[in-house]
Amino acid sequence: MVLLESEQFLTELTRLFQKCRLSGSVFITLKKYDGRTKPIPRKGSVEGFEPSDNKCLLRATDGKKKISTVVSSKEVNKFQMAYSNLLRDNMDGLKKRDKKSKSKKSKAAQ
């Protein structure tokens, strides 16, 4: 799992989308993150670990390649704008609703 900076993550995510255009899926996972870098021990005390409240973890994969990034409240504004645009630009293969144009055509035919 490759941990990247937010900007680099966006670049790699774009590349993932482009790679999977003909076949395959892109999986994106979003989860709240408290900054821990060590697993919680089953017994014994946690060593001086302060959970932080303002971060989230973003992961992406195409089934083979994995990338991830941590977003904190400081970066969220800039990151979110770029990220939203990225999603909207790349998820463009879905069906468009054209009920209106169909009914117009049928009216014109009559």
Partner: protein, 86 residues
């Protein structure tokens, strides 16, 4: 694993599930360009909510919801500066 047919219902229940336990819940997005399908899943490993679509109009809604949850996760819960003036 309930699959929701309406976006309204899904987003309501999903947000509630996240707010119940923010650390446990996660959001998963799956996009397939070859099939033209998008699927969003919200789960806390006990309950799993799924919404699938192939409509372009849902992309914006799903992307907005995704961003909304991201903001919730990143928002600090500790008292803000404004409240300290009391």
């Amino acid at each position: 694993m309930p699959q929701y047919q309406t976006w309204e219902e899904f987003s309501r229940v999903a947000e509630k599930l996240y707010l119940a336990d923010p650390m446990k819940a996660r959001v998963v997005l799956k996009y397939r360009h070859s099939d033209g399908s998008l699927c969003i899943k919200v789960t806390d490993d006990l309950v799993c909510l799924v919404y699938r679509t192939d409509q372009a109009q849902d992309v914006k809604k799903i992307e907005k919801f995704h961003s909304q949850l991201m903001r919730l996760m990143v928002a600090k819960e500790s008292h803000s500066v404004a409240m300290e003036t009391d």
